[in-house]
C-alpha cells in the first residue's frame, strides 16, 4: 500500500492536469491557437498558394472563366525573353550589399558619436532621424530637387551635366544614396537605443582594465549588442527585398532601376493586367525571400537551443 501511493499519486496528478485542460480552458486555448491560425492561413497561405497557382496561368484579372493554364511558360518567358528580369535580380543584390555596407556602418558610427551626449546631440539626433519619418515617396521628391538634370541643385552647383536619374549607369547609385539618407537614420536610432541599454559598469570595467575607446566598443559593447545586431540584419534584408517605393517614384522601375518588386507592380498594378506573369515574378521574389528567412530562422532557433 505504502509503495503504491507514490506511483498512484503522480498519475492522479497528471489526470488532474489533463482535466484542467479539458472544458473551458481547452476552448480558450483552441480559440487562441485556432483564430490566429485561420487568419494566417486566410491572409498569408491562401494568397501565397493562389499566387503560385496563378503563376502557371494567363489571366486578365476579370473573370475566373478567363483563366488559361499555360504551364511553365511564364517562367520560361521571364528567364529568356523578358529583358528587365536579370538586371532586376542584380539590382536587388546590389541594394542588399549596399545597405549592409554604407548606411549600416554610418548609422552605427553616428549612434556611437551621438551617444556621447555632446552639446546639441538631441538636435543632431532629430536631424538624422527626420528622413525616416518621411515617406519614401516624399524622399524621392526631395531628391529630385537635387538630381534634376537641368534644374537640379547638384548640377547647378558643380556645373556638371550628369543625368542622375536618367543615365542607367548612374541612377541606381543615385537612388541608393537617397535610400541611404533615410536608412542611416533608422539604423542610427536602433543602435542608439541599444547603446543606451548597455550596462554602464561594463564600460567602467573596460576603462579600469585600460582598454581604449575603440577596443571597448569592438570587444565589449558590440558583442553585448548582439540582439540589436540581429534586428539590424533582419531589417536590412527585409528593406532591400521590399525596396520599391523610391524606384517607382523615380521612373516606375525602368531604365536601370529595375527591381523585382517594381516588375511585379508593372505587370499587375495599373492598366497592364498580366496577372499570371506578375504572379510568376512574385513567386520568384517569394522564393528568394524564403532563402533569407530560412537562414534567419535557423540562426534564431540555434541560439534558443543554446
Amino acid at each position: 500500500m505504502t509503495t503504491a501511493t507514490p506511483t498512484r499519486r503522480p498519475r492522479r496528478q497528471r489526470a488532474r492536469v489533463e482535466k484542467r485542460h479539458s472544458g473551458r480552458d481547452r476552448l480558450v486555448i483552441g480559440l487562441m491557437i485556432g483564430v490566429p491560425t485561420l487568419l494566417v492561413v486566410w491572409l498569408v497561405w491562401l494568397p501565397a498558394i493562389g499566387s503560385v497557382l496563378l503563376s502557371f496561368t494567363k489571366w486578365n484579372g476579370f473573370k475566373f472563366s478567363a483563366i488559361q493554364w499555360v504551364g511553365t511558360k511564364n517562367y520560361v518567358d521571364i528567364a529568356t525573353i523578358y529583358p528587365p528580369f536579370w538586371p532586376a535580380i542584380r539590382h536587388n543584390l546590389i541594394w542588399l550589399v549596399f545597405l549592409f555596407v554604407l548606411p549600416t556602418i554610418l548609422g552605427m558610427l553616428l549612434a556611437v558619436v551621438l551617444d556621447r551626449e555632446m552639446w546639441g546631440s538631441r538636435f543632431y539626433q532629430t536631424a538624422f532621424y527626420l528622413p525616416v519619418v518621411l515617406s519614401l515617396a516624399l524622399v524621392g521628391f526631395i531628391w529630385q530637387l537635387f538630381y534634376s538634370t537641368d534644374q537640379g541643385l547638384i548640377n547647378e552647383v558643380f556645373g556638371s551635366n550628369v543625368d542622375w536619374y536618367g543615365d542607367p549607369d548612374v541612377n541606381l547609385w543615385a537612388v541608393l544614396v537617397a535610400t541611404a539618407w533615410r536608412h542611416t537614420g533608422y539604423i542610427m536610432l536602433i543602435y542608439l537605443a541599444g547603446l543606451k541599454g548597455v550596462d554602464g559598469s561594463l564600460r567602467e570595467a573596460a576603462a579600469v582594465d585600460g582598454a581604449t575607446e575603440v577596443k571597448t566598443f569592438f570587444h565589449v559593447i558590440f558583442p553585448v549588442m548582439r540582439p540589436i545586431n540581429m534586428i539590424v540584419l533582419v531589417i536590412v534584408v527585409i528593406e532591400s527585398l521590399r525596396a520599391f517605393d523610391l524606384v517607382w517614384i523615380v521612373n516606375k522601375g525602368r531604365n536601370g532601376l529595375e527591381l523585382i518588386s517594381a516588375l511585379v507592380s508593372q505587370n499587375v498594378i495599373g492598366e497592364a493586367t498580366r496577372y499570371g506573369f506578375g504572379s510568376a515574378l512574385a513567386v520568384i521574389m517569394m522564393v528568394i525571400s524564403s532563402v533569407f528567412i530560412t537562414i534567419y530562422l535557423r540562426i534564431v532557433f540555434r541560439e534558443e537551443r543554446r
Binding site: 516624399l138 521628391f141 536618367g166 505587370n267 498594378i269 492598366e271 497592364a272 493586367t273
Partner: protein
Amino acid sequence: MARPDPRESRFSSTLPASVNGFGRRSLLRGALGVGALGATGMLSACGDDSTSGSGSGASAKAGNVKFGINEAKGSGPANERLQAMADAYAKKAGVTVSVNAVDHNTFQESITTYLQGSPDDVFTWFAGYRMAQFAEGGQIADISDVWPLDGIGDAFKKASTAADGKQYFVPVSYYPWAVFHRKSVFEKNGWTQPKTMDDLTALMKEMQGKKMTPFAFAAKDAWAPMGTFDILNMRLNGYDFHMALTKGEKAWDSPEVKNVFATWKTLLPYHQENSLGRTWQEAATSMAKGDCGMYLLGTFVVDGVPKEAQEDLDFFTFPELDASIGSDALDAPIDGFCVASGAQDEEAGKAYIKWLASAEAADAANNAASAPFIAANTAASTAKYGELQKKSVEVVQNAKSIAQFLDRDTNADLANTVITASLQDFIKKPDDIDGITASIQQQAKSILG
C-alpha cells in the same frame, strides 16, 4: 502610369507627376499632392459631392446618377469643367448627380479594380483600345442606342466603336500632338514653319549653328517618346499601318518598324541629350527659355511653360516624309465617358452620357472653368478658345486620320510592360534596332498569342 493628357499636366499635383515633372513653380502643388496621395489609396476616397437641382425639364429616362471623374477636387480647370457639367445636368434634368472625384493617375491605375468593384454609373475614360478592351471584357455597357449624337463627327464615332461594331463611349474633348515653338524665337531669327522635311532639316541645322538644340526631348515618363514614334510611323508607313501594328496584325520586327527606328536614329542627334532623366515639363521649360527650338508634344505643353511664354506658342504638324503617304494623319487622343455595365440605373446613365456629348454640356464646362478644353462637339461655342485651341480645331478637322496614341491604341499589357521599356532602350542604344525590335516582337507574340 502617366499619360499624355492635358489634364495630367494640370494635374501635376498627383504624386508621380509632381515628382516626374517638376518645375520650381509646381513645387508647392507637388508637395500638396504628396499629402493627397497619402490620403487616397482607394478610388472612393476623394470627394463625394452631391449636386441636386430642382429644374423642371426632366426628360423621360433621366434619373439620379453616380458620376466618377478622374480629376480630384481643387486640381484646376479640368475638375472645374467636369463639376460644371454635373451641376448643369442636375439643374436641367432635376436629378441628383453624385460626383466621385479621384486623382487622375490614381483613377487610371486603379481602373481594373474600380470596374470590378461597384463603379459609378458614368465615368471618365479614353477612346481607343483602352475603351475597347473593357467593351470586350463586358465591363462597360453598349450605348450604341444613344448614337448618332448631334455635332459629333464620323472620326469620333469610329474612335468610340469597339471591335464588335457597337459604341461604348462618347467623346467630349481631344488634344492634338504637334511640333510647338515660340513665335518670338522664330521671328527674331527669321525662321518660318517648315513645310517639308528638307525645310525642317535646314532649320535644325541652322538652330544648331546658333547653339540651340533643335528639339526638346524628354523620356523619363515612358509614354513621352511614344509621340515621336507615332508621328514617324504615321509619316513613313501611314495611319493604317499604325492601326494594324497596334492591333497586333503587323510584326514589331517588320522592315517598316525598323525603318521608323532607323529614321528616328538619324533625328536623335537633333534632340536634347540625357532625355531619360528629363520630364516633359522640364523639356517644355527648356523650349520656353530658348535653349531648344521646338518640342513635339500634345497641346498640354502650355501647362509646362511660364505664363508669358504661353501666349507666344505656336505649332505646326510634322512634315511629310514619304510623298505617297502624305502628312494628313496625327495623334489626337480623345477623352470622354463610358457607362459601367454594373450601373445601378443604366437608363439614367445613358440619358446623362448622351447629354454629356452635347454642345450644351461642352459650353457649360468651358464657361465655368478658367481654361477651356477643345470640345469634340462641332456645335460647341469656341468663344473661350485661345489661338492655340482654334488652330488645333483646324488642324484636326483637316487631318484625314486621327490616331489615339501608341499606348491608347495598343493592348495595355504590351504597351505598359514592353513598349515603354523598349523605347527607352532604343534611346539608350540607338544602334541596336534589330535587337530591340526582335525583343518587342518576341514578347508581343507571347502576350497577344
